[in-house]
Amino acid sequence: MKTATFRIWRGDAKGGEFRDYTTEVSEGMVVLDAVNQIQATQANDLACRWNCKAGKCGSCSAEVNGMPKLMCMTRMSELPLDRPITVEPMKAFPVLKDLITDVSWNFRVKKKIKKFKPRPPDALDGTWRMQQQDIDRVQEFRKCIECFLCQDVCHVLRDHQMHEQFIGPRFLIYVAALEMHPLDTENRIDELRNTQGIGYCNITKCCTKVCPENIEITDNGIIPLKERVVDDFYDPLGWIWKRLKKMLNR
């Protein structure tokens, strides 16, 4: 049977090193299978997160040969087996142990985003009417499995560590899904500009490239949001019109 060598990062917040493990490779195997196999037979205490093993839960994010990937959806047949395959934790978040990072920042960020606020029901029975074409875009954003790979590759977070000023692509499309929801009546444009740092995104599209759900994060989500911010804050005609309206209302 074929074998492969895995160079897996082992360590914790204080530091660590790559260690080599050799394991058998069977047909159709994915990287997560190999990591689980190593865990079961050679390193019982190797820490990694996983759940569904089918690309639906977004738990097993890691960097395989330097690329941010879901380990469960990365097939061994895509990788060159003549040299060691490196597996290391995501870099945008603090390491806890081995392949596990502290992603709690993401949960804190989400909590700060204004929640969904629907308009009153359309029908007497308390239900709403929406056309499929009006929700296609929102459904695209709601495919997000919260693997945080987009956060991992975003240079604003990864290289500049601006976690306090910028919410990252995951939460920009979360805001986009709320803002473009046909029933939602909340306005989140102010925070997008002022506290959530949408201006820091300079549309390098790295997030879109790594999204395992193929969400067009930049084109369909972030850019339209940027346009809304521009409309609200930087359009001179719009600015005059708003001032005028305010005066008339007074």
Partner: protein, 630 residues
């Protein structure tokens, strides 16, 4: 001494899948403080894997649908051993629970007139499943999560509960550890809701993740609650079989709901060959009619591929055993054939089943719009679980509630696809509501420090042992034996020895050693989960031995027929509970609840008839399995 970090809540919910989140939301809406403990990160629980949809008689697609039809479908699918009151509440309340989700931001697929779209599914008479493509579970868990985080619920992610704490008979807390640093914690609560999901990890081929080790089943059992229906383990007919590393991963029933067909190696649609009598009248007898049904023809009957899961799994096993299987030991599931019927079939399939398309393309190099998939049965769900009161979800222990997969009753001997998500919502809500009520009426109980010390000592023992038993190996061997001997087809000769083997496994589990330290150590976590797996394995095996008939998910080669004396009136269930030291007792086939259902399928009339005097029918007796359970 118990100077461990202690958290206090009115209601503690264990498990953060659909049922746990829904319970937590409801409890906190009632104004009590809520703690929510989960083994993984929030939003990763198995609900996220649910694909097909949420069964609810909204009647948006077929106006003939209503709660009574849904109720009848659920009872028929469960072969009449369901708790009828739960089936009634479930069918009545599911539509409102789906509407809750919409009000909280869920975006379901739409009908032409803008309402929630519903799809066909196995065992459901009309198109009934509210869905979002084939990622309904993700939509549901995300909606609950995003709503829940604004409710002031304290979430303890990556925590595992090791035991429930009791004050007399009452459950008053839980003791566990956080995975990150391995530190122990005490949770004190006035009421506890178990929502821990299933037991799939007891089997080798499963669609379940590492989390599903029967924690809630085992915690409740150890604390003194009863388990019922444990013999009914659902094997979903369509799991992936190739490549080997992905075997067991689920292929949604939605494939068949949207026109997918099952064929053997000769290309024969073998499901037409064996249609149970109870479904004959509502099942198509030719391929043309089946297709018309999938296309929404209200006069057509549904294709046999949409029969119940228990039956289809058995038919698939038969095809494989008799040498008509696919090259890798499954059968074919083909949706690509619809290109003969639809001009834009590839687009249709990708729109209806996006994640299935993606899953096969990426994991198996198969384009499902062009080729057939290879599928076979995979352990998916357990109908059995904690015996609860149907209205309040309270167990027989004061303060202990259970909801979702770890509770039992709604599904009887076989669950219909789509009824799980609705079960989570309906009974998650009820559990949260009544747990909050219970909490308001009671104060915190006294914490049992001895129990905590014993649990902590047992939990740390694997670090100090001299042996070299590997926890993963024990789990693996247990999965092998359960898969082989207590699987889809069962008989006494195979199951009896399992009981002996389980005793050996108990010894092996007590001898596992783990290396490393307590910080995020999966080897240690696996070692601790073994206890729960063994408890459910025992309960399943004993209950399967006791039920000397074939019904729903339980198929006994040695008793191939249904014995109506065991289920007439729809209420026979084997109860498993602890009886004193080291004895697992089954008080079998007693009436599960005090009311008997008198139900006329034709008129759909339901009547409650009290039969308290007949609490035990002629099969009632007590069986003890000494020395198996610790």
């Amino acid at each position: 001494m118990s100077d461990y970090e202690t958290h206090e809540h009115d209601v503690l919910v264990i498990g953060a899948g659909g049922a746990g989140l829904r319970a937590a939301i409801e409890a906190s809406a009632a104004g009590v403080s809520v703690g929510l403990v989960c083994k993984s990160l929030l939003g990763k629980a198995h609900t996220v894997m649910a694909e097909g949809g949420i069964a609810a008689a909204l009647a948006n697609v077929d106006e003939r649908d209503n709660w009574k039809v849904h109720f009848a479908d659920t009872m028929r699918g469960g072969q009449y051993v369901n708790n009828w009151r739960m089936a009634e509440l479930h069918a009545k309340e599911a539509p409102d629970r789906v509407r809750d989700l919409e009000a909280w931001g869920a975006v379901f697929d739409r009908t032409k007139d803008g309402r929630i779209l519903q799809r066909n599914f196995g065992g459901h008479k009309y198109p009934r499943l509210a869905h979002v493509g084939d990622r309904t579970g993700l939509e549901m868990i995300r909606t609950l999560q995003d709503h829940g985080i604004h409710q002031g619920i304290d979430v303890y992610m990556e925590h595992t509960i090791l035991s429930l704490l009791k004050d007399g008979d009452r459950v008053v807390g839980a003791f566990g550890y956080e995975r990150e640093r391995g530190r122990f914690k005490i949770f004190r609560a006035k009421a506890i809701v178990l929502a821990t999901g299933g037991i799939g990890r007891a089997y080798k081929i499963t669609s379940n993740s590492w989390e599903y080790t029967g924690d809630g089943h085992s915690l409740a059992y150890d604390a003194g609650a009863e388990l019922i229906d444990m013999e009914f383990v659902q094997f979903h007919p369509t799991g992936m079989v190739w490549p080997p590393s992905v075997s067991g991963i689920l292929v949604t029933e939605g494939v068949r709901g949207d026109g997918g067909i099952l064929t053997n190696k000769d290309g024969r649609r073998f499901m037409f060959d064996d249609i149970p009598a109870s479904y004959k009248a509502q099942t198509a007898d030719n391929e043309e009619e089946g297709w018309r049904y999938c296309q929404g023809d209200k006069n057509a009957r549904r294709p046999p591929e949409l029969l119940t899961r228990d039956h289809i799994s058995r038919c698939i096993v038969r095809e494989i055993k008799e040498g008509r299987g696919s090259p890798h030991g499954g059968v074919f599931l083909d949706i690509s054939w619809i290109k003969q019927k639809l001009p834009n079939s590839a687009e249709y399939i990708k729109r209806k089943l996006p994640s299935m398309y993606h899953q096969f393309k990426q994991l198996a190099d198969i384009d499902i719009t062009e080729q057939a998939m290879e599928v076979g049965p995979t352990t998916h769900y357990i109908m059995g679980g904690v015996r609860v009161d149907p209205d309040t979800q309270i167990s027989r222990l004061p303060g202990l509630f259970a909801a979702g997969e770890c509770a039992a009753g709604i599904n009887g001997a076989n669950r219909l696809g789509g009824n799980s998500l609705s079960d989570l919502l309906v009974f998650g809500k009820r559990a949260g509501e009544f747990a909050a009520k219970f909490a308001k009426k009671n104060s915190l109980g006294k914490i049992d420090n001895d129990k905590i010390d014993i649990t902590a000592r047992e939990a740390l023992a694997p670090f100090e042992r001299a042996g070299n038993e590997n926890p993963y190996q024990v789990q693996h061997d247990l999965q092998e034996i359960m898969q082989h001997s207590v699987g889809i087809v069962r008989n006494e000769n195979e199951m009896k020895p399992v009981l002996e083997r389980l005793k050996e496994f108990r010894d092996r589990a007590n001898g596992v050693r783990v290396s490393g330290n307590r910080e995020f150590n999966p080897g240690w976590h696996t070692a601790l989960d073994l206890k729960n797996l063994l408890t459910v394995a025992e309960a399943i095996t004993c209950a399967a031995l006791e039920r000397k008939e074939s019904r729903g998910a339980q198929f006994r080669e040695d008793y191939p027929n249904r014995d109506d004396a065991l289920g007439s009136g729809g209420l026979g269930s084997a109860r498993v509970s602890r009886a004193g030291d080291g004895v697992l007792a089954i008080a079998d086939f007693s009436w599960a609840f005090d009311a008997q259902l008198v139900w006329h399928e034709t008129t759909l009339q339901i009547q409650r008839k009290f039969v308290a005097a007949r609490r035990r029918n002629h099969h009632a007796r007590r069986v003890r399995y000494p020395g198996i359970s610790r």
